[in-house]
């Protein structure tokens, strides 16, 4: 691990890129998941579940706001992060962007479970982040996520008791599971990195463009390199591979205990490694590399509609800076 990262203005280009890539994958996941959760407001099975789901949506939005705010120190504001960003430059997992079929409450609670179980592990790996603003945010976020996980587990258990509920959960699991695995994919660094000076930004472009291999290859290499940096710089204290394995070792037995078949390739269960995320089990779009399902682009259009309609150039802040 390098020396603790204190002052963002002293960051090297690589450090900035690692920080921005990490924070975008965190913030984007929360932001897009919250967008999807809000679809359940006024549509949940009961007034009580409506209130609970709305709570979770607001928690996730609050977390997105906290993560995005980390980048304010790198001169990246909400306008750049949400309203003016190319939707293909978002780094969330495809799990969070998929639309809900009307009434598919099984999808909502299963998705929440798959996500929150991963979220818990990743927050644990950020608790001792070398970048204090990240470590400082973990406590608040984690306490709320623990409640979400409990809520999702309770619902799964209740739905799995009935035949229709279990069938619907199985359908949702078959559909969602490959997308959940993308949570542990490394993210391609953003095209425009958060380096304040244009020259530094330009040097990154050159680095990318002079790569002799194909675009895909260079993106994958860049993703692997920046993911290596995230861990080497101590921004996160566990690798994605470790997180993925741990997640599988938790969610697979739990889902099986509900009589659900987890669509996982049993051949990957080998010596020493109980479970592993394999390339074959991943969906076509990974999210983390900027490829997304069509549903994301529609969602992005919808959520930026007002901003474009009113020709805005700013996103109004009405709350205080969380660091103050």
């Amino acid at each position: 691990m390098s020396s603790p990262l204190e002052n963002p203005t002293d960051f090297s280009a690589r450090e900035r890129r690692a920080l921005e890539t990490l924070v975008k994958r965190l913030g984007d996941d929360e932001f897009v998941l919250a967008e999807r959760y809000t679809e359940w407001q006024v549509r949940a099975p009961s007034l009580e579940s409506d209130l609970a789901l709305a709570n979770n949506a607001q928690d996730e939005l609050g977390h997105a706001r906290l993560w995005y705010d980390v980048l304010a120190d790198l001169d990246v504001d909400e306008r750049d992060l949400v309203y003016e960003r190319d939707p293909a430059d978002f780094r969330h997992s495809t799990l969070v962007e998929l639309p809900f079929a009307e009434g598919d409450w099984a999808d909502a609670v299963l998705r929440s479970y798959l996500y929150d179980a991963a979220e818990d592990l990743r927050l644990e790996a950020l608790e001792d982040s070398a970048y204090p603003p990240i470590a400082d945010r973990v406590g608040k976020i984690r306490s709320e996520e623990e409640y979400h996980l409990e809520h999702a587990r309770n619902w799964l258990e209740r739905l799995a008791e009935g035949e229709e509920g279990r069938d619907r959960l199985q359908d949702a699991l078959d559909r969602l599971f490959p997308h959940a695995l993308t949570l542990f994919e490394s993210a391609t660094p953003p095209v425009e990195t958060a380096i304040p000076t244009r020259e530094a930004s330009g040097s990154n472009e050159i680095e990318r463009n002079t790569d002799e291999t194909s675009g895909d290859r260079s993106d994958a290499d860049a993703a692997a390199a920046v993911e290596g940096d995230i861990v080497d710089f101590g921004l996160r204290t566990a690798t994605l591979e470790e997180l993925g394995e741990e997640w599988l070792s938790i969610v697979v037995p739990f889902l099986e205990s509900l009589d659900l078949d987890v669509p996982i390739d049993e051949s990957t269960i080998g010596e020493g490694v109980e479970y592993a995320v394999t390339v074959e089990s991943l969906p076509t779009q990974l999210g983390r590399d900027g490829t997304h399902t069509d549903a994301w682009f529609d969602l992005y259009d919808d959520l930026t509609h007002t901003y474009r309609e009113l020709e805005r150039s700013d996103a109004a802040k009405i709350r205080e800076d969380p660091d103050r």
């Binding site: 006024v42 209130l51 009935g162 996103a315 009405i318």
Partner: protein
């Protein structure tokens, strides 16, 4: 207790579930509170799409919280209505879904653009606040009690609505123009929010005589206009020429009621206004789509398994 005794004793928070009240009172109170609860739900239904379309994360959070608050108010109010022993929450929600449940006129109109949001969140909620504040002194104690929480939270909604209005009216020329257009569209509906003049109001006399209703339609409308005409002007909105509003010598207002579309208003009151029917139908479809969840939970309970985590 007979009706005459009820009228004699009618005062703020005078009656509770411990009292033996005549059916006429129970039914009138149920009708009034059910209408209020339904309005919370349908208002939330109308505003939900703007959680997504809100042009910043903070606004999105505030809108999500507002919609959640409205559902919470609905929950509280259905409970206050249920305590009268006339109708269960399930019956009221089923009636709302099948088109029998009545709710506020403003929530029958679809909302298409963000510039319309302050028309609800500032003007309609502001109007509702005035009425709700008086209902803290209603004679049915559980209703008055629910109003304490509702009024507290509505205060935040109105502030947020006002903040959106201010942002729009200090924004670009285009924003100001679109907001003025939205205001002109909504202004007559907002005035009709208070219902027809007292002469034409069917339920007022009885509701007032047993202390359920504290102020007449005209009194509430006057108080609203008194406060909100200057506010609207202050933000640069022009009050439309129609309906004509005359200021009397005593500072109160007289609305030329003939300038308002009462055919539409009464069609809405009977749930016969087409766009409103679409909203009722949209909500019903969403509720039917999750019927399987409610059935699954009911079966679990029937098998003797206590429901875990009730939400």
């Amino acid at each position: 207790m007979d009706l005459e005794t009820v009228k004699d004793r009618a005062g703020p928070r005078a009656f509770s579930p411990a009292d033996d009240l005549p059916q006429e009172y129970r039914e009138a109170a149920t009708r009034m509170i059910e209408f209020h609860a339904n309005s919370e739900i349908m208002g939330a239904y109308l505003e939900r799409p703007f959680i997504r379309q809100a042009p910043s994360i903070d606004r999105k959070l505030a809108f999500s919280a507002k919609v959640q608050d409205e559902i919470g108010h609905g929950q509280l109010l259905y409970r206050a209505a249920e305590s009268l022993g006339v109708k269960s929450r399930e019956q009221m929600l089923a009636d709302l879904a099948n088109g029998d449940g009545k709710f506020l006129n403003c929530f029958h109109y679809p909302m298409e653009s963000w510039v319309e949001t302050p028309m609800i969140a500032f003007f309609v909620d502001g109007a509702a606040m005035r009425r709700q504040a008086t209902l803290r002194r209603t004679s049915w104690e559980p209703y008055a009690h629910a109003m304490d929480k509702v009024c507290f939270e509505e205060g935040f909604h109105v502030k947020h609505g006002e903040d959106i209005l201010q942002e729009l009216m200090t924004g670009s020329r285009k924003e100001r123009q679109l907001t003025q257009e939205a205001f002109e569209k909504w202004w007559p509906r907002i005035i009709q929010f208070f219902g027809p003049t007292d002469d034409d109001s069917t339920h007022h006399d009885f509701a007032a005589s047993v202390g359920l209703k504290q102020k007449s339609n005209d009194e509430l409308r006057n108080a609203f206009l008194d406060q909100y005409i200057p506010k609207a002007r202050n933000y640069g909105l022009e009050i439309p020429d129609e309906p004509r509003i005359r200021e009397r010598d005593d500072g109160t207002y007289e609305v030329e009621e003939g300038d308002l579309d009462w055919d539409e208003f009464f069609a809405i009151a009977k749930n016969e206004y087409e766009p409103g029917r679409d909203q009722i139908g949209g909500r019903r479809a969403a509720q039917e789509a999750v019927q399987w969840v409610r059935e699954t939970i009911d079966e679990t309970i029937a098998r003797g398994h206590a429901p875990r985590a009730a939400d």
